[in-house]
């Protein structure tokens, strides 16, 4: 598709071709002027393309009237745009009403939606101005999902909320997507948001030029152009770490001895790992660590004073968090445990840097 705005020589979006896989979150990201919002709005025909074809679920968008098309595509915008004169309930019921659902069905759906986006049902009778920004944003998403459209378009949905609420809403969207499996096209100028939310990321340059279209991990591993590399910014390695889970890299046993080991046995392990401490385990539990100088004259390692580990991670923790935890610990390791706190192994800086090779 392409779009040239009247009175403008250069196209806002020139000959862009994009295949959006069903059930995935595709993020359009790029600097201002890259045509990402224009591209999004051509999907629901809020902006009419100058040329080209757009298919939604195999149907060309111009084969039905624009209002009918739009009722089958959820739409969430940055400023939310709730109807101030309607209650939260009526706001959520907008599209079902346009589609002529009966009252009982709408009521049931509204309750379901409130639960889906985590909105207290007590708020349903309120007006939008009585809700916080975060709550309004949830209502905006609920309203877009009301008629269960297979597709959801989101235009910078989180840029108007503060960073803490934004992170929370992003997590909610990911949790929601795991349940509803919509095809989501999301526009943002924030590369970190794109990496966090996207199954696929389309990086657009000025004029709607597609620079790279790949998974976030692939984009970070191998930026397709100088532009992409610049757009990703300096902390590419750290951003990649945020996409990899502890489970995905090999871990080591670490300098760990049994609670009944002798000080000599412990020293041998410490020498082998070239550290002056040893982790002490009792079966599946890692109890803590003992310093080398505290071992003198003890019958067994377990008699020495034990320091607690403060750097626990699980297999689901991202490497970025694991690295952060590791850097803040005096033993310079991250201790990996399962959900039942059973000891699984350790990560050091070496394992983490191997993860991004």
């Amino acid at each position: 598709m392409r779009k040239v705005f009247a009175g403008s020589g250069a196209p806002a979006v020139g000959d862009l071709s994009l295949d959006i896989p069903a059930g995935q979150i595709v993020v359009l990201v790029g600097p201002s002027g890259c045509g990402k919002t224009t591209t999004l709005k051509m999907i629901n025909r809020l902006i009419e393309p100058t040329g080209g074809e757009i298919f939604v679920l195999g149907t060309e968008v111009h084969s039905v009237s624009a209002p009918v098309l739009r009722r089958s595509i959820g739409y969430v915008i940055q400023q939310i745009g709730l109807f101030p004169h309607r209650t939260i309930e009526a706001n959520m019921a907008t599209v079902p009403r346009l589609l002529g659902w009966d009252k009982a069905r709408i009521r049931a759906r509204v309750d379901e939606l409130a639960d889906l986006v985590g909105l207290d049902r007590g708020l349903l009778r309120r007006y939008p101005s009585e809700l916080s920004g975060g709550q309004q944003q949830r209502v905006g998403v609920a309203r877009a999902l009301a008629a269960d459209p297979p597709i959801l378009l989101m235009d910078e949905p989180y840029s108007a909320v503060d960073p803490i609420v934004r992170a929370h809403l992003q997590d909610e969207l990911l949790a929601l997507q795991r349940r509803v499996h919509k095809t989501i096209v999301l526009v943002t100028h924030d590369i970190d948001e794109a990496i966090k939310l996207g199954d696929q990321v389309a990086i657009l340059n000025v004029g709607g030029v597609l620079e790279q279209y790949a998974t976030p991990a692939e984009v970070l591993r191998a930026p397709a152009s100088e532009f992409v590399a610049r757009f990703l910014g300096r902390e590419r390695g750290l951003k990649r770490l945020a996409l990899i889970r502890v489970d995905e890299v090999p871990r080591v046993d670490g300098p760990v001895v049994d609670i009944n080991a002798t000080p000599d046995e412990a020293r041998a392990v410490m020498d082998k790992w070239n550290v002056d401490w040893a982790g002490v385990r009792d079966g599946h539990r890692l109890l803590g660590w003992a310093s080398g100088r505290d071992l003198d004259g003890r019958a067994r390692v377990g008699d020495a004073p034990l320091q607690p580990f403060q750097s626990w991670v699980t297999t689901e923790t991202t490497l970025r968090e694991a690295l952060d935890v590791l850097l803040n610990s005096s033993t310079r390791v991250a201790v990996v445990v399962d959900d039942d706190n059973n000891y699984l192994g350790m990560l050091t800086v070496e394992q983490i840097s191997e993860g991004i090779l």
Binding site: I77, Q79, I80, G81, S129
Partner: protein, 224 residues
């Protein structure tokens, strides 16, 4: 000065006169209310469709605001006098100029109200599948209503305050009492006329405000 001198020593209100002329006072008050209702009604009948048209069509807007602006500048007494040869002592003599004064006020407020509808609300409505006509009816106009009501209140108070002038060309209303007071150098009917005119304006204003609160509960529920 001669008029003022005539009131020398007169009391502001003579309750016995008020008691004796109860029926007459009520009649004038009713006439005043009727003239108000007719003028506002005619004004709304013309201004609402014109205002909506003006809000959505820039060309109509320019012409409408200019034309109603000219009407608004005609002094009321002159307008009444101008119409007298055609409409005589019928109510039209008062109602036509009064209604014409409401046009500018109501139309401007409709335009401001429609233009005040947040862009994102309109975009959301369109994006969810409202047709243009449905969006105007269910989103734009309801959201413009508070501004329209504000215009209605100004128009009401303006008309109620102007009706006494119409008494000078033989129309009824509380202006009759005032004229009577002037003519006879007797303060009481003057006082009664003024007080009731102000009271009528206040009551109408509050009534519209109350109606707005009942009809548009969302417009006052704002978070601090």
């Amino acid at each position: 000065m001669s008029i003022l001198a005539a009131y020398d020593g007169d009391v502001w209100i003579d309750w016995s006169w008020v008691g004796d002329h109860g029926d007459e006072i009520v009649t004038h008050l009713r006439e005043h209310a009727e003239l108000t209702a007719l003028s506002i009604g005619l004004g709304l009948l013309i201004a609402v469709p014109l205002g909506l048209l003006a809000a959505f069509h820039p060309r109509v807007r320019g012409v409408t605001i200019a034309a109603t602006g000219v009407l608004y500048t005609i002094p009321s007494l002159a307008a009444f006098a101008l119409l007298l040869p055609w409409t005589g002592l019928s109510r039209a003599t008062a109602v036509i100029p009064l209604a014409s004064y409401t046009l500018l006020i109501i139309i401007r407020n409709i335009v401001a109200g429609i233009h005040g509808v947040p862009r994102e609300v309109r975009e959301a409505a369109t994006g969810m599948g409202y047709t243009s006509a449905a969006r105007i009816g269910w989103v734009d106009i309801p959201l413009a209503l508070p501004a329209m009501f504000a215009g209605l209140r100004i128009a009401l108070v303006t008309v109620i305050g102007l009706i006494p002038v119409a008494a000078l060309v033989g129309q009824g209303g509380l202006g009759r009492l005032m004229r009577d007071g002037f003519d006879r150098g007797f303060r009481t009917p003057l006082t009664v006329g003024i007080v009731l005119t102000v009271a009528l304006a206040v009551v109408c204003d509050l009534a519209v405000l109350l109606a707005q609160r009942v009809l548009m509960p969302w417009s006052r529920r704002r978070r601090a």
